[in-house]
């Protein structure tokens, strides 16, 4: 059986980011290419961060998800270019993040970098208030920063722009 590339992409919606399980690799924008050739299926992905510890798990999940559908020969390739930015995050992905309690990236990734670039306003994912403050530039995973809402007082993660 030769599955279409659209079918393979459909199957790959089973594969999620182990650190933010509501996002599929497609939502996250790290699924770059799916090709079905004579020598099996080649799936091309790109890391979010250089040291992203989830890449290994994601590779294994891709192979597992496709094997489950009877695709035996799967190769997963990693590319660095063009470098992933938060602009690759899909609209769907942004909505899912918000529903999950993580503030999606505010604004475009390609902003002018200043010595002390102040981040854009980050709205609280719980109550929507824009009165929030950053508690740390670095959060529980490489892609997140920590914030606190000054209105509902909830701490929350912000998926930071890169």
């Amino acid at each position: 059986m030769v599955a279409s590339e659209a079918q393979i992409r459909e199957w790959l919606t089973q594969v999620t980011d182990p650190e933010i399980p509501v996002l599929t690799i497609e939502d996250l924008g790290i699924l770059r290419d799916v090709r079905h050739g004579k020598d099996g299926v080649t799936v091309t992905i790109t890391p979010t961060y250089s040291g992203c510890p989830a890449m290994m798990a994601i590779r294994m999940e891709i192979v597992r998800a496709l094997r489950e559908q009877g695709v035996e020969r799967v190769r997963v390739e990693e590319v660095l270019s063009p470098a992933w930015t938060t602009d690759w995050l899909s609209q769907d992905g942004r909505a899912k993040l918000l529903a999950y309690g993580i503030a999606p990236p505010a604004g475009k990734a390609q902003r002018k970098s200043a010595l002390f670039g102040e981040p854009d306003t980050v709205a609280c994912p719980q109550c929507g208030s824009e009165r929030t403050s950053r508690t740390s530039e670095f959060g529980s995973t490489a892609c997140k920063a920590m914030y606190r809402c000054e209105d509902c007082l909830e701490p929350f993660d912000y998926f930071k722009c890169i």
Binding site: Y49, S50, G51, L80, S81, E137, F138, A142
Partner: protein, 253 residues
């Protein structure tokens, strides 16, 4: 490898080893950082650096074409084969020392990667373009901390000034080109360290001024890391880092 490839290999080791050794140093703060936020920040910066090291060392291994991958290069070379700049192997000291070491390195790393994002070498260009976005966060954080500590209490000011004084002699090596740097610059592959030095001086001057710190006088600078002449600290770092794969060479996760 011909001379040109040999020089490129050396250059890639310098990039990869500096990231790897600093990443290893920072990892030692896990479980010991002064506050939880800093624990996470330090861990994240370490992770970025080790990830970048893997990319650089993979390129080095491909170029060498002797079957050494990034792990092989990281775990099975001795101190004299390492090419990291000396500042990255300085001990962690107190937190002010760790922050100042980070700042002095970040202020060099950021313009270096900006330059390399325009390299004529595709692999170098790609890794640099990826890494520079991560390092932008590093330099912002370390700059903020230098200012907070320098312009903080008498105690924090005194500690971070002492760190600056002690680390100063390790900054020259990063900014001083040698034959390898010159050759790669000429080929359009490497960075222009003169430009990097300008950017470094600008940032270091601006941040230390706001931090009310005093820059040490221009003095004698340590050299040697890029050529494989290291301080006594590197051997201990490698002993810890390489212990497992050297004791159990076939170990797999």
């Amino acid at each position: 490898m011909n001379t040109r490839e040999q020089q490129q290999f050396e250059y890639l080791l310098r990039l990869g080893d500096s990231d790897l050794i600093l990443g290893q140093r920072l990892s030692a703060w896990l479980g010991h950082a002064p506050v939880l936020e800093e624990e996470m920040a330090t861990g994240n910066v370490a992770l970025d650096l080790v990830g970048q090291a893997r990319s650089w060392l993979s390129l080095a291994g491909e170029l060498e074409a002797q079957g050494r991958d990034a792990d092989r290069l990281a775990y099975f070379r001795d101190a004299f084969d390492y090419r990291n700049v000396l500042i990255t192997e300085r001990p962690n000291g107190d937190y002010a020392y760790t922050i100042m070491r980070q700042f002095l390195f970040d202020a060099y790393h950021y313009p270096l990667l900006q330059q390399l994002s325009g390299s004529a070498h595709e692999g170098i260009r790609e890794v640099a373009a990826k890494s520079v976005k991560e390092v932008e966060y590093h330099v912002r954080r370390s700059s903020e901390w230098v200012i907070r500590m320098g312009d903080g209490t008498q105690e924090s000011h005194q500690r971070i000034q002492a760190a600056l004084d002690d680390l100063w002699m390790y900054t020259g090596e990063m900014l001083t080109p040698d034959d390898v740097d010159d050759a790669l610059l000429e080929a359009g592959v490497g960075a222009d360290l003169e430009q990097v030095a300008w950017s470094w001086h600008d940032r270091v001057r601006a941040v230390t001024e706001e931090a009310t710190l005093t820059l040490p006088d221009e003095s004698w600078m340590q050299q040697g890391g890029k050529q494989g002449r290291h301080t006594e600290h590197l051997g201990y770092i490698l002993a810890e880092m390489q212990h497992l794969p050297r004791s159990y060479p076939d170990a797999r996760w």
